[in-house]
Amino acid sequence: MIKVKNLTKTYKTKDIETPVLRGIDLNVAPGEFLGIMGKSGAGKSTLMYQIGLLDHPTSGEIILNSKNTEQMSTEERTQMRLSELGYVFQDYALIPELTAVENVMIPLLMKGFSKSESCDISIKMLERIGLSHRVDNKPGQLSGGEQQRVSIARAMAHNPKILFADEPTANLDTISGYSIIQLFKELHDKGQTIVMVTHEEEYAKYCDRIIYLEDGKIVREVKQK
């Protein structure tokens, strides 16, 4: 499902070059729940952003669903993010002026669903994650855990092939964090491919496999199941 070959990423300013990823090779199988761990600055999030097509690597290949993503146009990458990928960000990344249901609706509208279809699917999605009573609330009226659930509903509403999560529990208390991980586990049990960046061991134990990054390289790999 995901093939990464010799991936590098170097941030360049005027005089300074900062290599963040230094030759990453990685395969993710369909239905796998992959955890990416490492210390702060190890390159975890950077790796996820490259694989998730939110950024361009300096060199290397990323093949998603048999497509070489570096040969795609900006529009094709946007289209792929819309139709095949889902994202859950650390800070929820909800649009503040939209209600919970409207936040979930946007990608569906962009995919071509009508407003009523999008609304129905979104409400069902929010019901599925236990937020049926919060559909008309704006992000500012929701707790951190609820916002993250809306974010997951938005990421999942269009049935993405791969779900990317960048430290989804980092801003949550323990109970909310566990409920989010439980939600990921349920999705994974139904066959969802998930790539999750986390620095919390107790959540990483739900992953099928964990890769550890250090100074932009995979230094260890642990298969858990």
Binding site: L54, T78, M80, R81, L82, E97
Partner: protein
């Protein structure tokens, strides 16, 4: 396959517009109400600046043209050809006009250059100059002139002439110093002279005494600088051998389909082209007035365009600040697969919303308030009563121009922010 391409393209654009509209509507709904009101207010002022400034400048001249047409020329006017003393075959022209379709009224005027002398009874010292004003003595058929121009409505002092009386004269107000002194020495004018006073009128070698019956007040020179007598008195004064006139003003029935150009063409086709100079009211307007009108319109448009530039900069800044402060969310939307075009469209719709509402309020103010107001209370200028000229076509063009400029002013800053790297936008780098 080839049929699918345009279908896909139109589907894609309909999705872009649908998402753009969805986002724009919610952003406008969620925005600060007073800021929204202020932007709409600026757009309204811009539109009014664009329409009203040029409209009033043009209206100063147009007001003069309207008055000229109403009080003097009618819709078509026949005058004496250059080098001739009068309109040949006046009677035949009159008979043709009376039968001509669409013609509502005609007024035949007999004109001769002359002098009006006042205060001659009190002039004791003959070494002092006579109190004289040059004028065009105009003989009219009272009923015809009244039907065409409603001239009696402009009488400021005394009353208008009566067909059954003789020996009376009505003077244009600018022949009297008390009215014309604001113009300096542009017109020779006579002192005093009120209704009931006697004046001597000289045309050529003939002089007759008339009693001033009234003073007619108008900003149309052909009224305010003439002295009016009945046709019979004129013919007696001038010793005219024929009944050929000097002006035939023609009013067309406003409900008829006949245009001034059509009436002119009918007269030419009837064979009167060599008997008099046939002109529509527009053609009879002095060329310098047309030039002033063009210059004023240009000036008004320049002022209006400066307003549009200011408004577009305002919209640019508003959208730019909005987009910059929302850059993270723009990045997130791009990240989750919302197309750049849909996000740009959302900003374009927002800017168009401001211009549309502001422009519509401006249109309402223009046509419901300002145009009727200036029609009822024209601006009082020495040479005209200034009205607000806002033709529907031209006004709608300016409305469209405002929308177009606003569209660009919304698109450019939105495009600048949207095209930035997605991840940099999300992370606020």
């Amino acid at each position: 396959m080839s049929e699918d391409k345009p279908k896909n393209l139109s589907r894609k654009w309909s999705q872009v517009i649908s998402v753009g509209w969805f986002l724009a509507f919610r952003q406008i709904k969620g925005s600060n109400k007073s800021t929204t009101f202020l932007i709409i207010f600026i757009m309204m002022l811009t539109f009014l600046n664009l329409v009203v400034v040029s409209g009033i400048l043009v209206g100063l001249i147009e007001g003069g043209r309207v008055a000229n047409k109403k009080q003097y020329s009618g819709d078509v006017i026949v005058t004496t050809l250059a080098g001739e003393n009068n309109i040949k075959r006046t009677n035949e022209i009159e008979s043709t006009l009376i039968k001509m379709s669409g013609v509502q009224n005609i007024s035949t005027r007999y004109i001769s250059s002359g002098q009006v002398e006042a205060n001659y009874k009190t002039r004791r010292d003959f070494s002092t100059p006579k109190d004289i004003a040059g004028t065009q003595v105009t003989g009219i058929n009272i009923q015809d002139e009244e039907a065409l121009s409603g001239i009696s409505n402009y009488v400021d002092e005394g009353s208008f002439l009566n067909e059954t009386e003789s020996g009376y004269i009505v003077l244009g107000k600018n022949l009297l110093r008390r009215y014309s002194e604001d113009f300096g020495d542009v017109f020779a004018s006579i002192e005093g002279t009120y209704p009931g006073d006697e004046v001597k009128v000289t045309v050529g070698k003939n002089t007759k005494t008339f009693i001033v019956k009234g003073i007619v007040s108008s900003k149309v020179n052909q009224v305010s600088l003439r002295a009016f007598v009945t046709k019979q008195d004129f013919l007696r004064l001038v010793d005219k051998a024929d009944l050929n006139a000097n002006e035939i003003a023609i009013r067309i029935n406003p409900n008829s389909k006949i245009t001034p150009d059509g009436t002119k063409a009918n007269l030419i086709n009837a064979g009167f082209a060599n008997d008099g100079k046939i002109q529509t009211a527009v053609e009879a307007t002095p060329e310098f007035l047309n030039q002033i009108r063009i210059a004023f319109a240009l000036l008004g448009n320049v002022i209006g365009l400066i307003g549009i530039v200011v408004a577009s900069i305002t919209i640019f800044i508003v959208i730019f600040i909005n987009a910059v402060t929302r850059r993270k969310y723009i990045g997130i939307m791009k990240g989750i697969g919302i197309s750049e075009k849909a996000i740009e469209v959302s900003y374009i719709i927002q800017s168009i919303f401001y211009a549309l509402i502001g422009g519509l309020i401006g249109l309402l103010i223009t046509f419901v308030l300002l145009v009727p107001f200036f029609d009822a209370y024209p601006l009082n200028f020495p040479f005209s009563d200034g009205i607000l000229v806002a033709p529907i076509g031209e006004t709608m063009f300016k409305f469209g121009l405002l929308l177009l400029v606003t569209l660009l002013a919304g698109y450019i800053p939105a495009r600048n922010i949207v095209k930035k790297n997605t991840l940099d936008s999300i992370l606020g780098r």
